[in-house]
Structures are given as structure tokens and as C-alpha cells.
Amino acid sequence: MSSGTADASPSDLPKASSASTAGIHPRWVRITHWVNVIAMFVMIASGWRIYDASPLFRFTFPPEITLGDGLQDALLWHFAAMWLLVVNGVTYVTFGILSGRFRRKLLPIRPADVISDLRAALTGKLSHDDLSVYNAVQRLLYVGVIAAGVVIVLSGISIWKPVQLQELAAVFGGYDAARFVHFFAMAIIVGFLLIHVVLAILVPRSLRAMILGR
């Protein structure tokens, strides 16, 4: 697009990103991303309300930040949004594998790169010049949250069907243990979301890219 003749400063980033013809995020990534935002919001908020009915630890979630007036409402939300979450998640993972995007953008993850990129990030020296390339920390976090997503769905199905799908529940150590796995997978995902949202705010162009694709 622009030749950017006069401006040679490092902040002249649109030039770098517009150089890639395909854009940063194809349409299927953006659609599944935002559908996932809705599905996760409903699943987490209703899940907290369900947790409160029989807490695993000595705390409960304040009702104001949960979804559903009472347990039955929360269960209705949870078992409705699960379809959205699973259909959307399967679509995302299928496209991710078949398009080669996962292999191209998320791999390889080298421990040495993770350490050096993490150090650079914490000292404010990590480059965001090319948003189409994920740094090693991003790769690790994205692969990690996808794995947590798989675990939360499978442990959730185990809690839902501990008799019909008892073999799956056994993978997580049985019904009661699957509840803990489900909870910790939620905690990991919420932890990821906090970092993810803070970083998106710090690098607003990344938010733009997830909406407009570039």
C-alpha cells in the first residue's frame, strides 16, 4: 500500500504487516475467536454458579459475577453453551490442523526461545513488529490454552456422563477427581484470559487484527 518513504521510524509497522498479502488472521480464526468469547463467557460464569452449589474448596464465587439465578438456571446456561463451545472449538481445531496454521504459527516451541522471549517481554524489549509471527511465549500460551480447552471439555463430559462414559471418566480418575480437573482447567483458562486481555490492551493493533484481519 503506502510506500512509507518519509517515515523510517520503528513505529512504521503497518508497512510490515501489510506486506503479507493474506493478512494476519483469516476469517475463520476471527469468527471462531469471537464465538469462543461468547461461549467461554457463558460457560465460565454459569460454571462458577454451579461450583457454588457444592464448592470444592473453602470459597465460593460471588453471585454477582456468576450467570444464572439459582442452580437450575446456571445448569440450563451451561448445558446450552456447551454446544456452542464444542462445535466452535472442533471447527477451530479442525481448520487449524488442516490449514497448517497450527504447525506454521504455533510450532516449534523451543525452551531456549521461550526463556529469551520471556526475558525480553519482561524488560519491555520484545518486538511486536510482525503480528503474524508469534513469539515463543505466545506459542507456548496458545498451545497450552488449546490443551486446557481439550481437557476442560473432556473432563466436563466425564462429569456429565460418569456412567455412560465411565471409561473416559476413569482417565481423569473417576467422577470426583474429574470435578477437580475441570476446575483447574477453568483456572488455567481464566489465568490465560487475564494475560491475554491485558496484552491485547497493551498492543491494540493485535485487537484490530483479530477484528479486521490485519
Binding site: 457463558v42 456468576t66 450467570l67 444464572g68 439465578d69 437450575q72 438456571d73 448445558f79 460418569p162
Partner: protein
């Protein structure tokens, strides 16, 4: 007490009145989706106007009915719930109810009669003595509550499917409805009623079922959530009509299979 026995044998009339009072709809239920106001984020994202509460409720209940059908498909009539050793039994096994334990129905075993109705050949009511004479089996299985907790118990009784055959029930009917002394009820699907572990339970932990666990009879269904395991059962109807149930009518999922 003697007067009430003419209506429903063995039921304390005072308890019935108390429970009837509890059945009066709670006006706060109208605020069904008060929590949905926090859906502001979704509203912003989709650009929709405020989520209409009735529409949202209807949609959620429609999905819940869809989930009933999915669960009926997942249900395998030959899949047995895992069983456990005696040592795994949860002691004390928790009391569950929508009322405190002291309000649990007190049923007189001497006058108790199990009513059998609907699509059955033999509608003769059963005394407790006659029920106890049926062949019995024991199971140690996990009770999973809709709230999330679980507990392992030991239940002894006669398989419901054997009883249904004995009274000449139409096994092609869709549902079996259970009526309980305190006004509680459940409707279950016929495939679950015919599951080998679905049991008319007379004993808990080798002793006569105590009042808190449903004396004189509960229906133990290890393939369903706890609230689909009715206690203090006084009537059983084989039917093609879904007669609903206490919690099912209050928004909990109807099938509630596990």
C-alpha cells in the same frame, strides 16, 4: 391421622399440608434470569438489544429438551454403573431433600400400600410385606447429586423391570411415573425403568430403609442424578404421558442421565 389414612395410607396429614404450602409458586422465580443482566458483554458484542428474558428462558428450556433427546440416545441399556466394595460406602450417607430431615415423611409400614396404575394388567395395591417377599439384589453404587457432590451407598431391593413384568406392565409404554408421600414425583423413561440396576429399594446398608433415606421404598437409579431417585414412593404409573416431576417442573433437566 386415621382420617388421612383413608386418602393416602400411612401419610401424616400435617406433613402434607406443610408440603403443599411449599408447593405454592415462589414469586421470586419470576426473576428467573436476573443473572442474565450480566449478559451486557454479549449484548455489546452482538449489537442486540437487551436479551428478552422470556425468549431466553424459552430458548434455554428448548435446548434442555434437545439435551433430553441426546441423553436418551447416549443411554446404553446394557451399560452398568460402576459398583464398589463395602469399604467404599460413604458414612454417614447424606440426607437429601428440599426440606429438613425432621420434615421427612413418616410412613406407617403396617398400613402402607403401593398403588400400581396406568398401563398395567394387575392394579392390585401392594402391602410392604408382599413387596419384601420379592426376590432382592444388592448394589453398591455412586449417587451423583445435581449439585455436584457424590456419595456411595448400598441399596437392596427388587429390580424394577422384574416388578413391571410381574404386574403385566406395557413395557412398550414411554414412561413410568412415581408418586411420593410428601408430594414429590418423578417421571422416568421406560428404557431406564428396564435397566438391570434400576431398583425398588427396601434396604440401605443391609438394614430396613430408614426414614431419612425414603422408608418404606425408594427407587434407586444409578444411571440418573440423585433427584431422579424418588423416596417415600407410594404410587407407580405406567404411562405414555410425561407427567413431569418436582424438580423437572422447576427447570432442572428432565432426563438427567449420568
Amino acid at each position: 391421622m386415621p382420617k388421612a389414612r383413608k386418602i393416602i395410607p400411612g401419610v401424616d396429614p400435617n406433613l402434607l399440608i406443610k408440603d403443599a404450602a411449599k408447593l405454592i409458586p415462589n414469586p421470586s422465580r419470576r426473576l428467573f434470569l436476573r443473572g442474565a443482566t450480566s449478559l451486557g458483554a454479549i449484548t455489546l458484542l452482538t449489537g442486540c438489544d437487551i436479551v428478552d428474558e422470556d425468549t431466553a428462558v424459552k430458548a434455554l428450556l428448548a435446548i434442555s429438551r434437545f439435551n433430553d433427546r441426546v441423553q436418551a440416545m447416549i443411554f446404553n441399556p446394557n451399560k452398568l454403573a460402576p459398583t464398589y466394595p463395602e469399604s467404599a460406602i460413604t458414612r454417614p450417607f447424606p440426607f437429601n431433600g428440599y426440606y429438613p430431615e425432621e420434615d421427612a415423611p413418616e410412613i406407617d409400614g403396617e398400613t402402607y400400600m403401593l398403588e400400581v396404575g396406568g398401563l398395567v394388567e394387575n392394579k392390585k395395591p401392594w402391602t410392604l410385606e408382599e413387596l419384601y417377599a420379592l426376590p432382592q439384589e444388592k448394589q453398591i453404587t455412586r449417587h451423583v447429586c445435581v449439585e455436584g457432590w457424590s456419595a456411595i451407598g448400598s441399596w437392596t431391593g427388587t429390580p424394577l423391570r422384574d416388578f413391571l413384568k410381574r404386574v403385566g406392565a406395557d413395557l412398550t409404554a414411554k414412561y413410568v411415573w412415581f408418586q411420593c408421600a410428601e408430594g414429590y414425583s418423578n417421571t422416568i423413561d421406560m428404557p431406564t425403568a428396564l435397566h438391570p440396576q434400576t431398583q425398588m429399594t427396601f434396604k440401605f446398608d443391609n438394614d430396613i430403609l430408614p426414614r431419612k433415606y425414603g422408608f418404606p421404598m425408594k427407587i434407586r437409579i444409578p444411571t440418573k442424578l440423585g433427584f431422579k431417585n424418588p423416596k417415600y414412593v407410594i404410587g407407580m404409573h405406567v404411562t405414555n404421558q410425561d407427567l413431569g416431576g418436582y424438580w423437572e417442573d422447576r427447570g432442572y433437566n428432565w432426563f438427567s442421565g449420568i
